[in-house]
């Protein structure tokens, strides 16, 4: 028995479950209470749990992320919602220099059991300053665990695992995914890990390695490629830090070719890191140069056609795969 829910509903259910299960858990962020969340994720939670646990904050990311870190140090289990990754830059010092490093700086005396959720990505015509994909930046930082739920199951299941982690966990929800729908089992919530990558579609000729908002595009590309006789595997990274090297390399060894699909800019990107690891660990298994499909290196344009041109698209993924296959089928 399964039921069909949206990504938004799945995150809301996860929040509700966490709030019910543990009195130390509370949600804090801009417009999460009376407005119900910028993406309507926390709609109804204020009525159910009250203003002590569903807390609207001023427009001060540095302030409320810092407060979340303090609450975590004080024994709470805060879930801080930063409206989008674009605004998290204001809280970088708190996230990187405090949350990520306090365990180290205190010689192991303090841990920061904090979950920060934020929306990421482009594709909604909200212009350059609201369209960035900076999850790869956070994946650079030791001390953070970085998650990118891309399926309904992960949207529903990852939060409880993140809350159970004694160290700070960042969850990146691609804004284009909130309306996507999928099946989850009836009854007990799905149990998922927050340490492994997952093959979402098995294949033999090329591995499409991706995460977050690019997963649906990679799956559609695999569908198109299948019609051309090319069997594409789709690997969902899920966890951007620490990367699950074993699963990545197993997929590359199976397919011998790989295309990394990442909505961030290519230079210094997470895609670059994945490719570098493949070169380090699976060079002799490769049957073609690695390739990647990233965003064009421009501020993401506002105009729809330009925005679409700047982002990874199904056709770009298909073309990249074709160029790797040469004259082979």
């Amino acid at each position: 028995m399964s039921r069909r829910v949206s990504y938004r509903e799945a995150v809301r259910e996860a929040l509700r479950e966490a709030l019910r299960a543990d009195p130390r858990v509370f949600l804090m962020g801009e417009d999460v209470g009376r407005y119900g969340g910028t993406y309507a994720v926390s709609k109804g939670l204020l009525d159910e749990f009250g203003p002590e646990r569903i807390r609207d904050t001023p427009l001060s990311e540095l302030g409320f992320v810092g407060a979340g870190i303090g609450a975590a140090l004080g024994g709470m289990r805060p879930i801080v919602e930063v409206m989008t990754v674009n605004f998290s830059l204001l809280a970088l010092d708190a996230i990187v220099n405090s949350a990520a490093m306090l365990r180290h700086m205190s010689g192991g005396q303090f841990s920061v059991p904090l979950v920060i959720r934020m929306a990421t990505g482009a594709g909604r015509q909200v212009a350059a300053q609201h369209s960035n994909s900076f999850e790869g930046w956070y994946a650079h930082v030791p001390g953070l665990r970085v998650l990118a739920p891309a399926t309904i199951e992960d949207a529903r299941g990852m939060l409880s695992a993140a809350l159970a982690d004694p160290d700070p966990v960042l969850m990146f929800e691609h804004a284009q995914l909130y309306n996507s729908e999928g099946e989850i089992p009836e009854g007990a919530p799905p149990v998922v890990d927050i340490c492994s990558a997952r093959v979402r579609r098995a294949g033999t000729d090329v591995s499409l390695i991706t995460h977050g908002g690019c997963l649906p595009k990679a799956l559609r590309a695999a569908e198109e490629l299948a019609a051309q006789g090319i069997s594409a595997e789709v690997l969902d990274l899920r966890v951007l830090r620490p990367l699950d090297d074993a699963t990545i390399m197993a997929s590359v060894r199976r397919c011998r070719r790989a295309v990394v699909v990442d909505e961030a800019w290519r230079s210094g990107s997470l895609a670059a890191e994945v490719m570098a690891r493949i070169m380090e660990q699976a060079f002799f298994d490769l049957d073609a140069p690695l390739a990647r499909v990233c965003s064009e290196e421009v501020p993401i344009p506002y105009a729809r056609h330009l925005e679409e041109a700047a982002l990874p698209q199904v056709a770009k993924i298909v073309a990249a795969v074709q160029s790797l296959m040469g004259a082979a089928p």
Binding site: F284, D285, L286, D287, A288, S323, G326, A328
Partner: protein
Amino acid sequence: MIDFKLPSLGADMEEGTLLQWHVKPGDTVKRGQVVAVVDTSKAAVDVEIWHDGVMAELLVQPGDKVPVGTVLATLQAPGETAPPPAAVRHPVSPSARRRARELGIDPDGVNGTGAQGSVTLADIEAAARAQPAPAPAPVALADRQTEMRKAIAAAMSRSKREIPHYYLAETIPMQAATVWLQQHNEGLPITERMLPAVLLLKAVALALRRTPELNGFHRDGHFQASVPVHAGVAISLRGGGLVAPALHDVGAKPLDQLMRELADLVKRARAGSLRSSEMSDPTITVTNLGDQGAEAVFGVIYPPQVALVGFGSILVRPWVQDGEVRALPTVRATLAADHRVSDGHRGALFLVELRELLQRPQALAQAFTAPQDKPGASP
């Protein structure tokens, strides 16, 4: 960089199958060196290269069938600096290279079908599967004969379609030549004896000095005379069919050398190991029916040549000499010539000159000009 192209090894040849390379990239080659073996419809021919240099890249692989004129390989001229190695790098994917090592296959010899023309794992495995089959074998004998019949048919049909032949004949006394040969061969082991054919070939070459319009090629509406006489010697093959490879620069060589070269040419023609220059160089064909032949032969010219000289059997015939009928060895010499290039009068002058030369065999034995040109330079 010099292109080494598949030469035409005869008027009837349009394509050839590369059987084998005798060289590899980096080898230094000399002009005239045999570098490859090519299967034409007639024979497996050793193909020579026409430039000194260093082999750069082999572009055609054994087993490939390619048209005449295809670039088979590139060659660096002496002094030419090597291109950067990347330019000739044959991309092989890492996994293909590893698999090739496991299978003992040279990945550089495998055609790439992958990204940027690279050799992939699948290419190596396909090559490994193909390997147990023998390397492209020369066409089987029965096929070879069928092919040769077709090739002769094509060349001879073209000749009769395009070339307006005229024919002349002359009976030539061979008393002096026969006596000279007997004296020359006396006491020599059979293998070193000189055959009449050598005298006849030599006489043809010298006679052509007076009628150069019979020696050369007619191509694209123009006649191009050749200074050296490369006589295409018609050699019948034991399985049927014939070839007419060149005996190079007959006029310039002494008789004993010609005899050695002729014996070698016949042996190699029958063994199927002729050289490319021998197939493409003949400037005139000489067909000699020999002891068991008919009295006379009126031949079909082998394009793009413009003449064919035929000799029948040397027979003792009644011959009037000094007012008396005497029994003398004679030979019927014939000329088939291209009327676009020469006329019957000039043809007759050639036969008369041939007759006179054969009356002075001692002079034939001594007459050889300085080497005029190296084989293969004229076409």
